[in-house]
């Protein structure tokens, strides 16, 4: 019996993996690249050619996806950017296999489960979470596990659930920069999810027990930032810190100008989008308003991403509310596990509302103008050639053998397109940071990003030597210009080469 059960889980896992693989291949064949994956892949390439040190990567973004990606690329034959997408597929397939297992326990038949899974996967929020890049897929998986932990705690009321829940919370902090916004919402909400008996006995203890692992993870991160950079909050205010979101370039997002900075507008907007995209969750809560467990838990779970999105919007940190709201699908999936099995008309209503949510979700996606979403939406329909500038520069650099100083944070797309770091001098290395003037005298070429580009805030070279993009540097001359990148080459390079 046990063996048969495990077979079922495996079967569903393989089925989900196959389906997500098809979707992912479709997107990749249309030249879709996740910004996050490119960024991490560039770092992996950069670190691969040098003595890697943890502190070199800046300790500025959550480490779990990075180390997972980096670790798998160490296996023979897997040293490729596409590992990132493979991991996304596996994480998402794991979530759906897990969900399916519990739907089986609830008594849902195969046809119902397939219908539910199809409607969830075709929902743009879930689809975005699964296919848009490793960080989103892992976030979706960890947030799903967190919600499942909550459901488990409500149903079983045991310490195993608390450990499960708190471990997912801590893992969430190390997986996703958006956990910062969720954390703010979690602090008042999470403990209230605990069973009534626990709350009545000692509310403060419930707070301490549920939030300590998250607090430890947060303080550990502060400690690492202090230890390596003498600034415990560097991960929050450094220009390249992912925890900042798009704050540095928020003016480039029109929707943020419309909704950001205003609490009421942000909350209203976030709730409006949640309602449009997940009416099924709202209906489930309303329908089961007399069901104590559901009422006790599901609304709080639903409120978490909604409020978190609002906080991210107020702080001008999100490229779109969907960047957080896609987690509402995890809330829907786990909330369904709390309910008694739905049958007949209730089931039909749920499926209908899921379908309606699909339309709502696609409408939200359609009306958004965030570049990150636009690329993904476009790739679903047709090919989206990658930034020609970065690819051209990569090609240019690969065609000659001069050493080139380029900031790997600003030039991650170049490095990813180049496929290696041969002849590149990268400032992540401590010795380069310390003696960068020396490097200006010794490298053959300088690659500078246009100061008007959104990534120029992290281009250490352009920032340190202000005006270098436009005016060049003494002893160097311009050899490459594509309006985004400029390459200045040492004047005496030929004579030096001749001497060598």
């Amino acid at each position: 019996m046990q063996k048969r059960k495990s077979h079922r889980v495996l079967e569903f896992f393989i089925l989900a993996t196959a389906l997500f693989s098809v979707l992912m291949v479709w997107l990749l064949s249309h030249d879709y690249h996740s910004e996050y994956s490119l960024r991490v892949w560039a770092k992996i390439l950069a670190f691969g050619g040098n003595d890697f040190r943890l502190e070199d990567s800046g300790i500025l973004f959550p480490y779990v996806p990075f180390y997972l990606f980096w670790g798998v690329t160490k296996f023979p034959g897997l040293h490729t950017e596409y590992v990132s997408y493979l991991l996304s597929i596996l994480a998402a397939a794991g979530v759906f296999a897990h969900w399916n297992t519990f739907l089986v326990k609830k008594g849902y038949r195969l046809k119902e489960r397939l219908l539910l899974a199809t409607l969830v996967i075709s929902h743009p929020f879930a689809l975005w979470g699964i296919t848009s890049g490793l960080n989103n897929a892992l976030t979706f998986a960890v947030f799903y596990m967190f919600c499942f932990g909550v459901v488990r705690l409500v149903l079983l009321r045991d310490l195993h659930s608390i450990l499960f829940l708190t471990a997912s919370l801590a893992a969430f902090f190390l997986t996703d920069d958006r956990s910062m916004y969720l954390a703010i919402v979690m602090f008042p909400f999470i403990p209230l999810i605990a069973p009534d008996r626990m709350l009545k006995e000692s509310l403060s203890s419930v707070y301490v027990i549920l939030l300590t692992p998250f607090a430890f993870a947060f303080m550990s991160w502060m400690y690492l930032n202090w230890m390596f950079h003498n600034d415990p909050f560097m991960f929050m205010h450094a220009p390249e810190a992912m925890y900042n979101g798009v704050w540095q370039n928020s003016d480039q997002y029109s929707w943020l100008n419309q909704w950001g900075g205003d609490w009421i507008a942000s909350i209203g907007y976030s709730f409006w989008l949640s309602l449009l995209a997940t009416p099924a969750t709202i209906w489930m809560i309303w329908r089961n308003r007399m069901h104590e467990r559901v009422l006790h838990t599901a609304p709080k779970l639903f409120l978490m991403p909604a409020f978190a999105a609002a906080i991210g919007t107020v702080g001008f940190a999100l490229f779109h509310a969907v960047d957080v709201l896609f987690m509402q699908m995890a809330v829907f999936m786990t909330a369904l596990l709390l309910l008694p099995r739905l049958r007949g008309n209730s089931m039909k209503t749920l499926l209908g509302l899921l379908l309606l949510g699909n339309f709502g979700g696609w409408w939200i996606m359609h009306t958004s103008d965030a570049p990150q979403l636009n690329k993904w939406k476009a790739a679903i329909l047709h090919s989206v050639p990658d930034s020609t500038s970065d690819v051209q520069l990569a090609k240019f650099l690969n065609e000659q053998h001069y050493s080139t100083l380029i900031d790997e944070r600003a030039g991650y797309r170049v490095i990813a397109a180049k496929g290696n770091v041969t002849n590149l001098v990268l400032p992540f290395r401590v010795e380069v940071k310390l003696v960068d003037k020396y490097f200006l005298k010794t490298v053959d070429q300088l690659a500078i990003l246009n100061p008007n580009h959104r990534l120029s805030v992290v281009d250490a070279i352009g920032k340190k030597y202000e005006g270098i993009y436009w005016g060049g540097w003494e002893g160097f001359h311009l050899v490459y210009d594509d309006q985004q990148w400029r390459i200045y080459r040492r004047n005496d390079i030929e004579s030096l080469a001749a001497k060598k």
């Binding site: 943890l54 450990l163 006995e201 000692s202 027990i209 300590t212 690492l224």
Partner: protein, 627 residues
């Protein structure tokens, strides 16, 4: 021949006639007798309505036999055969003396089995006299103490020398340790930096594995199934009449003042008193406690066992000695200040019944009743909570040998005798026994019942107790690592590596921790770069992981321990756990010193210091007791 056994009056009627009990008491006793499935006399004595001496006197009258008081008319010691001590005790029959050429046999339990034994051993042509159960036990104790004592001290070392800690280090182990230390010294002299890096890697890896191991135990041990083993319904379905005789050993030394606590706790046990065989195991030279036990006027299910002086003077030796007199089918041990939950014996029996046949021991949980007394007792309680509520159930589920706790371990008596009893040379005989049980192909289970004890709240007292425990762990580790391949073979993969981490790891943690904390705080205060060369990147990251995640995890598990026990006020104290761990290290080094220079010395822990005990006993604060 048996004296006239013609019954003129029933036993109960004689007791009423002699004014020993009232008709109401007899009626009550008959009802209880039916419930408990015991004999009337045992019920009446268990209720304390009639003293043992008066009861046996009446019984003699009932059977129309003469009654002899061994104290006034001593038996002839030379008639006893040492090979039959066990059977004398089992049947409560002994040869008394010769009278006019005929052998007189004293008997306290007239039943088919005892009569059959007497007939087989002494023949039919003997005269019987009645005496009390205690007369026979005291007589056997007095006459057989050399024999019992010899068995208690040497049984294991003779039968299973490989598993006895009588020899602390084997020659082979001394050679191995010498070679390792010499090699380390040599390497350190020639490659000081490299060897320090290697040591750092070893320590880092050890803490990393230890962290994952304990995390796994906590994860597995926190499962709700652990707490659902014995339900109230199962207890209600238990038939008292079918319960077996249960021996309870209470070893004590100079604990006269706390004796009333355990007596009261044992009286509260939800178990037919007539089926309890409680042995107060007292040292012969501890007259104060012996007198206190006598003065308490204990019911007949309590017996005093006087352990003659001999070395090593340890608790396991005392228990081995007392076991000679135990008659129960099952056995457990409690300390003098213990407060077991009343239904613990029944829960243990249900656990045995539900478990596989190879489960021969069940460990109950331990916790402290004086947890809020001071910082030390709070930390001790937190530690015990995770130990017994998470780690031991985790070990049980993962089939890793369970080092038993000092008390509240329940045994199948026949199996306990089979595996060779406790090792009198091991100062944590309980941990050793847990290992031996697994090594011999049996298992230890856990039961969701708690015994509350007194946490030692004074630093010196705590160090003494803890150093003994760590020393015992060291002894146990050395014993089972004499032949590591044998141990691997008998314990299996999980068992062997679990033993390495749980017993070996506990020792190693206490010894390594001061160095790791020392280095860290030295760096933190001085911000020196002198240590950088000993921490290459991978070692640094491993150390950082251990520092942040490892310490954080253990502090959090301490919090969970308090949360599970509803000791909410203790939760914040978990943050101070690193200071407590440093004290553990102090005790660890003391233990290491003693292992070499005084291996069998039993560090005594003073009990009765807590005001909880004083309040309970209504004692002045300056009185205490030692165990």
């Amino acid at each position: 021949m048996l004296y006239n056994s013609k019954k003129k009056l029933r036993l109960g009627e004689i007791l009423i006639k002699n004014g020993l009990i009232s008709p109401v008491q007899l009626e009550e006793a008959l009802v209880i007798q039916k419930d408990w499935g015991s004999r009337l006399g045992d019920v009446i004595m268990a209720r304390g309505w009639v003293t043992s001496k008066k009861f046996y006197h009446t019984l003699a009258e009932h059977f129309d036999m003469p009654f002899v008081d061994f104290y006034k008319e001593p038996a002839e010691p030379t008639l006893l055969k040492s090979a039959l001590y066990g059977q004398y005790l089992e049947h409560l029959v002994v040869p008394y003396k010769h009278h006019e050429g005929r052998l007189m046999v004293a008997i306290a339990d007239i039943g088919d089995a005892s009569m059959q034994f007497a007939e087989n051993e002494f023949g039919r042509d003997v005269d019987y006299v009645m005496t009390s159960k205690f007369d026979i036990i005291w007589h056997l104790q007095a006459c057989g103490k050399e024999f019992f004592n010899h068995t208690a001290v040497h049984a294991l070392s003779f039968a299973r020398p490989k598993q006895s800690a009588k020899q602390v280090f084997t020659v082979q182990q001394l050679i191995q340790i010498g070679l390792i230390l010499s090699a380390m010294f040599g390497i350190f002299v020639y490659w000081p930096t490299a060897s320090l890096i290697a040591l750092n890697i070893f320590a880092g890896l050890f803490f990393l594995i230890n962290y994952f191991f304990k995390a796994t135990l906590a994860w597995v041990g926190s499962h709700r199934k652990v707490d659902m083993r014995i339900t109230d319904r199962m207890l209600a379905n238990l038939d008292d009449a079918s319960l077996p005789l249960y021996t309870v050993l209470v070893p004590m030394y100079k604990e006269a003042k706390t004796l009333p606590i355990i007596a009261a706790s044992l009286r509260k046990l939800d178990y037919p008193k007539s089926k309890l065989d409680v042995k107060l195991v007292l040292e012969e030279d501890d007259q104060e406690t012996i007198q206190a036990a006598k003065d308490l006027g204990l019911e007949s299910f309590f017996e005093i066992i006087r352990v003659p002086h001999s070395l090593p003077k340890t608790k396991p030796k005392a228990c081995n000695y007392a076991l000679n007199f135990a008659r129960g089918k099952f056995l457990t041990i409690y300390d003098a200040e213990d407060k077991p939950e009343p239904q613990q014996l029944k829960k243990a029996l249900i656990t045995f019944a539900q478990s596989a046949e190879d489960v021969i021991c069940v460990q109950a949980r331990l916790n402290y009743f004086n947890s809020t007394e001071n910082w030390m007792t709070r930390m001790f309680t937190l530690e015990y909570s995770i130990w017994f509520d998470y780690f031991l159930p985790g070990l049980d589920i993962l089939r890793i040998p369970i080092p038993l706790g000092g008390t509240s371990n329940h045994f199948k008596m026949d199996k306990l005798r089979e595996i060779g009893l406790w090792d009198p040379y091991n100062v944590t005989e309980d941990a050793d026994l847990g290992m031996r049980i697994t090594q011999l192909g049996y298992r230890v289970g856990v039961v969701n019942s708690t015994t509350y004890e007194e946490a030692t709240g004074a630093l010196g007292n705590w160090i003494r107790q803890r150093s003994r425990w760590v020393k015992g762990y060291m002894q146990t580790y050395l014993v089972y690592m004499r032949h590591p391949i044998d141990t691997y073979r008998t314990l299996g993969h999980a068992g062997f590596w679990g033993f390495q981490m749980f017993v070996g790891g506990t020792i190693m943690t206490t010894l390594l921790l001061p160095f790791m904390y020392g280095m860290y705080f030295f760096w933190l205060i001085t911000q020196t770069m002198a240590l950088d060369s000993y921490f290459p990147p991978i070692v640094l990251y491993m150390s950082l992981f251990n520092l942040l995640m490892g310490n954080g995890f253990f502090i959090y598990v301490y919090m969970l321990g308090a949360f599970k026990r509803h000791n909410y006020t203790l939760i914040p104290y978990a943050l101070t756990a690193p200071f407590y761990w440093m004290l553990l290290s102090l005790a660890g080094y003391k233990a290491l010193w003693q292992l070499v220079f005084n291996p069998f010395y039993w560090e005594k822990t003073t009990h009765g210091l807590t005001h909880f005990v004083h309040e309970e006993l209504d004692l002045p604060e300056n009185q205490n007791a030692k165990t």
